[in-house]
């Protein structure tokens, strides 16, 4: 596809009977930040592992800059920077030792390597801790060092697999800022996350992934439109499933996304009669409603509309 740095074509990966990634197709355009949004176990990491050549797909193809990573692994890997979900650093070495080793794998040497290390550590705010062993770092500092290792050789294409998991808000903000800066220099970024706000804040385009499949791809606006510009109404209390469905069936543009004994999630088209018609019908019924909340269209509501489940489920 023209203008696409990465082309993922019908990728499939199975572990015994479990289909981890099923017929995944998307492309990442040159210079964009592309988000892969989905809950844990959606298949994001498996997809990333296949893109960066760690895991061979059962079916399908990955092209990076029109080159197949399984045919030209070294040439392709030289252009990739990968920040894995695990904190993959040597804790018994210093930050500088780690980066020295990592840089040498990409052919960086001597003064150039030294200046790149200084520059990258400064960028993530770790310059003063360069000579400290990583085991003395906090979780957030280790994450930032993890990010450094992906940036050191100035890759053309940066893959980040949930790089902010388990860190404090300040460290998270720092990482997101750095990614913005890197993308501004023309680096193409593929970013996986299960945090909806990160995807909204960071990504130019987003693919929503669940249970090994891509459910939708587009910009945030495109996705919310695709979900029908619906508002999500969340009711907490106790409901008779069938009675509530019967009561709402007469209201056009209203859909029950999920219902159990303690809660109900409804999708209400903005073009239809709207909340003013739905709420009275619910409250007039013989239901014990304890709490009502309304959610404007966002990626969460898109995910709910597509899967019937919350992103965190």
């Amino acid at each position: 596809m023209e203008g696409s740095l990465i082309q993922i074509d019908r990728l499939r990966k199975c572990y015994d009977t479990l289909v981890a990634v099923d017929n995944v197709t998307f492309d990442v355009r040159d210079g964009e930040i592309f988000g892969l949004l989905g809950p844990n176990g959606a298949g994001k990491t498996t997809t990333i592992n296949m893109i960066c050549g760690v895991l061979q797909p059962d079916e399908g193809r990955v092209l990076v800059d029109d080159r197949n990573i399984w045919i030209e692994p070294k040439a392709v890997k030289q252009t990739l920077g990968v920040v894995p979900q695990e904190i993959a650093v040597y804790e018994d070495l210093t930050a500088r030792d780690n980066l020295n080793f990592w840089g040498s794998l990409y052919g960086l040497r001597g003064a150039e390597l030294g200046s790149r290390i200084d520059e990258t550590l400064s960028r993530v705010g770790l310059a003063e801790r360069a000579r400290d062993k990583v085991k003395t770092f906090s979780g957030g500092m280790k994450r930032r060092l993890n990010l450094c290792m992906g940036l050191l050789h100035r890759p053309k294409f940066l893959l980040l697999d949930e790089p902010t998991v388990g860190i404090d808000p300040q460290a998270r903000l720092n990482i997101l800022e750095v990614i913005h800066e890197v993308a501004a220099t023309g680096t193409t970024v593929l970013y996986t996350t299960h945090y909806m706000d990160e995807a909204e804040q960071l990504c130019d385009r987003i693919a929503i992934m669940d249970r090994g499949q891509i459910l939708a791809i587009g910009t945030q606006d495109e996705l919310t439109k695709r979900a029908g510009e619906a508002e999500v109404l969340r009711l907490t209390g106790s409901f008779d499933d069938q009675a509530l469905r019967d009561r709402l069936s007469a209201v056009p543009g209203t859909r029950v996304l999920r219902m159990d004994s303690g809660s109900a999630v409804l999708s209400i088209e903005r073009d239809g009669p709207g909340l003013l018609h739905v709420l009275p019908r619910v409250l007039e019924g013989d239901f014990d409603v304890e709490d009502v909340s309304i959610q404007r269209p966002n990626l969460q509501s898109v995910f709910i509309a597509l899967t019937g489940r919350e992103l965190r489920d």
Partner: protein, 414 residues
């Protein structure tokens, strides 16, 4: 270049963790020190047997024993400590290898030809030295019993003379001397010359090499050094599983590094670390007075042993599922091989049924070669078979381990 980078990284990790690195060498050194202490310090010449002598008879016999212990040679080997009843408490405290108790009336009964007893109390916490003392006391009892039979009448005369008041008359002493002399002349044909003479030849120290110092450490340090090298190889190969479990291996393979390069780099670092480790242990042995043998032969044997240790551990680590499994399995193999191979107990002291098993361990082939160099004055030509077994098996294991790991990396199961 990636191979060298991986090698440099591994060496850097040892450099950055001096305590961890020192700990790897500590085990064989501590064990060697314990062996040296148990067996009386650094040299065989310093081994001394401490015996408590509780003589309630104040007898001629005990004076003879103490007199014998006072000879120049015995002074270095045997320490006789006269004690009273408190000797039993001292034995409870492990103050000596054994206590010899001579009861009241021992000399009187012996001279009278009556059956009498010498009591021996052994220290249960020592294995060999009390047995040596038991053998010695048993031999002495046999000699005295024989003398009691052969010189019965003369001994009775001595008993009578000792029991009489005042000094015995010249005639009585002269008569006794004459009787003993006559008895000995009668025995001369039976006792002299002896039909069999004992000639002791130390094969480990041929006549032209008598100056070679043989120390206790020289018996134990080779085995313990081999065991220490196995533990070094365990630590170095364990890093592969640790890399995998921490996600480092997966991350590494996202860089322009092939699984083959990673494994070659790891194998080289394992080989280098085990070789350097072994060399350090050998140098410590030299400092402690161990004469290892011809340097070239020792160097080649050291490398062959390092290859064998590295290959064995890499193969085991390549087959296990996790670091914990690898740790458990390799520790069992190292201890079992070290025991069977003769690292703790010399092969000749093992039960007969165990000895054939020894040859199935690489530890045996290494220790056997070191024994040839250290104790038999051998050279490179004398250990060719050992070198071939160690190198061929080690390289086969190393290649097999690397192939299994490579396959597992490609299949995504590592």
């Amino acid at each position: 270049m990636s191979i060298l980078a991986i090698l440099r990284r591994d060496l850097n990790r040892y450099r950055r963790n001096p305590i961890r690195t020192a700990m790897l060498f500590a085990l064989p050194l501590v064990m060697a020190a314990i062996f040296a202490l148990v067996f009386g310090g650094g040299g065989a010449d310093e081994i001394s047997i401490r015996v408590l002598l509780w003589d309630e008879d104040n007898s001629l016999l005990s004076m003879l024993v103490q007199g014998a212990a006072g000879s120049e040679e015995s002074e270095q080997r045997l320490e006789i400590v006269p004690v009273g009843k408190e000797g039993l408490a001292m034995m409870d405290d492990g103050a000596a290898s054994a206590l010899v108790h001579i009861p009241v009336g021992f000399t009187r009964d012996f001279l009278a030809g009556e059956v009498t007893t010498v009591e021996l109390v052994k220290n249960p916490s020592e294995r060999y030295l009390p047995l040596v003392i038991e053998e010695g006391v048993g031999l002495g009892a046999a000699v005295l019993s024989t003398a009691s039979t052969v010189f019965r009448s003369e001994l009775e005369t001595i008993g009578t003379l000792m029991g009489s008041r005042g000094f015995p008359s010249d005639a009585a002493v002269g008569g006794l001397g004459s009787d003993i002399n006559s008895r000995l002349r009668g025995l001369e044909g039976f006792l002299f010359p002896p039909a069999i003479t004992l000639e002791s030849v130390d094969l480990a120290a041929p006549a032209e090499d008598e100056a070679r110092p043989i120390t206790v450490l020289s018996y134990f340090l080779p085995g313990l050094a081999v065991m220490g090298t196995l533990f070094l190889a365990q630590s170095a190969t364990r890093d592969i599983l640790r890399d995998r479990e921490a996600g480092l291996l997966r991350h590494l393979l996202t860089a322009p590094v092939s699984p083959g390069e990673y494994l070659v780099g790891k194998c080289l670092s394992v080989l280098l670390i085990t070789s350097v480790g072994f060399a350090v242990l050998i140098l410590i042995g030299v400092a402690a007075g161990v004469t290892w043998g011809p340097p070239v032969a020792v160097g080649v044997l050291m490398l062959a042993t390092a290859v064998a240790c590295s290959g064995t551990l890499l193969l085991i680590m390549s087959l296990v599922g996790s670091e914990r499994q690898g740790d458990a399995l390799t520790t069992i193999v190292i201890i079992a091989w070290s025991m069977l191979g003769g690292a703790f107990v010399p092969l000749e002291q093992m039960p007969a049924f165990v000895r054939p098993l020894s040859a199935s361990t690489l530890v045996f082939w290494s220790i056997d070669a070191f024994n040839t160099l250290i104790h038999h004055g051998g050279g490179l030509g004398d250990i060719v078979v050992n070198l071939a077994v160690l190198s061929a098996t080690g390289l086969t294991f190393l290649i097999a381990g690397a192939l299994v790991l490579g396959l597992r990396i490609r299949q995504g199961t590592l």
